[in-house]
C-alpha cells in the first residue's frame, strides 16, 4: 500500500523547500522544553526561520496568529506548560496555523502521555518522535525509558502509518534512517549520523525544522521529509570537521546555515 522511495541530497524538491523557507523566514512559535530551547532556536535561525519561544499561558495565544507554524514539545512539560500547550494548539487550529507535536518521552510517563493523547485529538499537522514514542502514541508498546529510543525505527513504521491514518498527521519516525508517512505514502530518509544521538536536542531540533517546513510547504509529508533530509545533510557534512559531539553540534549549526548557499 505504501510507496517507498529513497531520497538523497541534493533533491530538487528539498532544495525548493529550503529556498522557500529562506525566502519566507517564517516565525516558528515553539512551546518546547528548557533543555533544548537554545539549540532549537539556533537551528531555526540557521535554516532561515525566526524562532519565538513564548510559553506563558497568558500570552501563547497572542503570538500564534503571527506564526507560520507552532511546535509543541513535551520534553519538560509542567502543569503550566500543559495549559499553555492547550491554549496554543487551540489558537493554531482557529487561525489555521500548522502545528507539530513532538511527544518526548511519551509512554513511561502517564502525565505527559495523557496530555499527548489529548493534544492528538486536535489534529496536529505533523508528529515527530523516536520509535518508542511513536509506538506509545499509537497505543502500542510501553514506550522508552525517558528520551531514549529503545526500539528500532523499522519496528515503528506500522505504528506510524496507523497513527497517521487515525490522526491525519504526517508522522516522522527518527532513527539511523528516518521514516515519514501520511498513512499511505512512506518516505525513507537515509543519512544523518550516529553523532546526532549524542547531542542533546538533536531530535527536538528536527521537530522544530518540521514545523518550519510546514509553514512553507503545503504537503505535511513532504515538509517532514524535507526537514529530515536537511538535518541529515547538514549532519553528514558536520561529521567531517568534528572531533566529537561538542564540535559536531557547533558544526551542525554552521552546516545548516551553509546548506544551499
Amino acid at each position: 500500500m505504501a510507496r517507498a522511495s529513497d531520497r538523497s541530497w541534493p533533491d530538487p524538491e528539498i532544495a525548493a523547500d529550503l529556498a522557500a523557507l529562506r525566502a519566507a523566514a517564517p516565525l516558528v512559535h515553539c512551546v518546547t522544553n528548557v533543555v533544548v530551547s537554545a539549540f532549537t532556536a539556533n537551528v531555526l535561525l540557521a535554516i532561515g526561520a525566526a524562532p519565538a519561544m513564548v510559553h506563558a499561558p497568558e500570552e501563547v495565544a497572542d503570538l500564534v496568529p503571527a506564526a507560520g507554524a507552532l511546535l509543541v514539545n513535551l520534553g519538560t512539560v509542567t502543569a503550566e506548560q500543559a495549559e499553555a500547550a492547550r491554549i496554543a494548539v487551540a489558537a493554531a487550529r482557529e487561525h489555521d496555523v500548522p502545528w507539530v507535536l513532538d511527544p518526548v518521552a511519551v509512554g513511561p510517563l502517564p502525565f505527559r502521555t495523557a496530555l499527548a493523547h489529548e493534544l492528538l485529538e486536535q489534529r496536529p499537522t505533523a508528529i515527530r518522535g523516536n520509535p518508542s514514542e511513536i509506538l506509545a502514541l499509537a497505543g502500542l508498546g510501553a514506550g522508552g525509558r525517558g528520551v531514549d529510543a529503545t526500539d528500532g525505527p523499522e519496528a515503528a513504521i506500522d505504528a506510524a502509518r496507523d497513527l497517521a491514518r487515525r490522526s491525519g498527521a504526517a508522522v516522522a519516525v527518527s532513527g539511523a534512517v528516518d521514516h515519514v508517512t501520511d498513512g499511505e505514502r512512506l518516505i525513507t530518509v537515509p543519512g544523518g549520523d550516529e553523532l546526532l544521538t549524542r547531542v542533546t536536542g538533536a531530535g527536538c531540533a528536527l521537530g522544530a525544522l518540521v514545523a518550519a517546513a510546514c509553514a512553507v510547504v503545503p504537503d505535511p509529508l513532504r515538509a517532514a521529509a524535507s526537514a529530515s533530509a536537511l538535518l541529515a545533510a547538514a549532519a553528514e557534512r558536520a561529521v567531517s570537521g568534528a572531533r566529537g559531539p561538542g564540535s559536531f553540534a557547533v558544526g551542525l549549526l554552521d552546516e545548516l546555515d551553509a546548506l544551499g548557499r
Copy 2:
C-alpha cells in the same frame, strides 16, 4: 540637541571600563529567559563578571543587595517570573543597585507589554532593545513580530530619546549600528556583525553586558555605550574565524574573554 560621536575600538574610555569590570568582577543578577540563560552567563563570565541567575519570587530579593547590577529580561516571562521581576526591581531600588530592562518582544504581546510599562515606572538605569521594542515601549509603533527587529535602528532613535527623557534611563537601540542615548547625548556604536542576528541570545547578552557595565561605570550612557562597543569588537574579531553561526557563537565567547588582554 543631541551630540553624536562615533566610537571605535580601542577607545580609552571603553578600555578603562573593561579594566574596571575585570577588576571588580561584579555579581550580575539576571532574571532572564530560559532560552538565553546559559549563553548570557557565559558572556558575563567571558567579560569578567559573575553571573547569578536566581529567579524564584521566594529568593530574588535576597540576592539583589549583594549584586553589582540587576538584569530583567522578559523573553520567556511567566506570571511567576513577573512577580520575581517586581520583587527584584523593588529590592534594587531599595539598595541602590543599578538595573537594566530588556523588553524582549514587547509590543505584540499584551501581558509582557503591560509588565514592561509597569516596570518602567521603577526607573531602570538602562534599557536595551531592538528598534521595534523601543518603539513599542515608547508608546509608538506596534512592535515587532516576537523577538525580531522589524524596524531599522534609525527609525527608533527619536523614540529612544523620548523614552530616555521620560524614564530617566539610558536607552540602547540595537541594530547593524547601535545607538545609545540619555535623552540629550547620542552615541553611535558602529561595528558588530550581521552574524549576531543569527545567534539566539546575542541581543539578550548585550543587555547583560550593559548591566555588568552599569555595576562599575557611574554614567549609564557611557556604560551602555561601552557594553555595546565591547560586544561589537568581540563580534568583529570572531567573524574571521567563523564558518557560520555555530562557530561564531563559540568564537564570540573566546574573543570577549581575550579583549584587552
Copy 3:
C-alpha cells in the same frame, strides 16, 4: 585519621569505572537548573550516560524507578521545583536509587538553604559543591555570594569531613584541586583547569557525573573521585585546543567523549 592519596589519569580504578559507565549507559535523572540543563545533558551523553531532565512534580516519581541515579541541583530552584525535588528524592529512597545533592548557592539564600538542609535528612549518596556551599551546608561559614566559590577548597575539607560523617554521603569539594571524603578517607583529585571556572555549569556538570558514577560504582567515595578525575582529565586535554572559554567548553565535550577510547 584521613588517608590522603593523589590520583592521576590513567588510574586503573578510574578506567574501570569509566568502562562500567559506558557498558551500563545508566539513565541519570536530573532535577536541575535551567541555566545548565543543556550542558549537563551533553556532558552525560559524552561520558556514556543517558540524561533525562524531567522535573514536573506530576511526573518525577514515575521516572526515578527506571533511573540508575538521581541528581538534585538547586541552581534555579522554585517552589514547584522544590516540591519536585522532594518527591524525586522520596522515590529514590523507596527504590534504592542513589541520589546526589548539588547545593548551588546554598548559604546566602534562605529559601534554598532550608530546602538543602531538609533534603540532607534524606541521606544523599553524595554531595557536590564548592567550598562556600559545603561550609554553609555543614552549618559553618556564611556561604558565598551566589554561585561563586569565595573560600578555598582546603578551608572546606574539615567541613566536608564533618558533613560526610553526619549525612552518610560522600562529599566532593570542587576547586583548583578537588577533595572527596566519606568522613574517614580523603581523596585528592588534582588537575582540571582554571578555565572550568569560566564555563557556566562546569561544576553542575560534575555533580551530574558524580550521579552517573554512583549508578555503576558501589562505593560513593570512589564514584565521586572517579567522576572528578574524569572531568579533570578531559579538561586538561581540552585546554590545549582551546582559544578561550567558548572553545574550551566545546572541547571539553569532545574530550569527555574520547576518554578511554
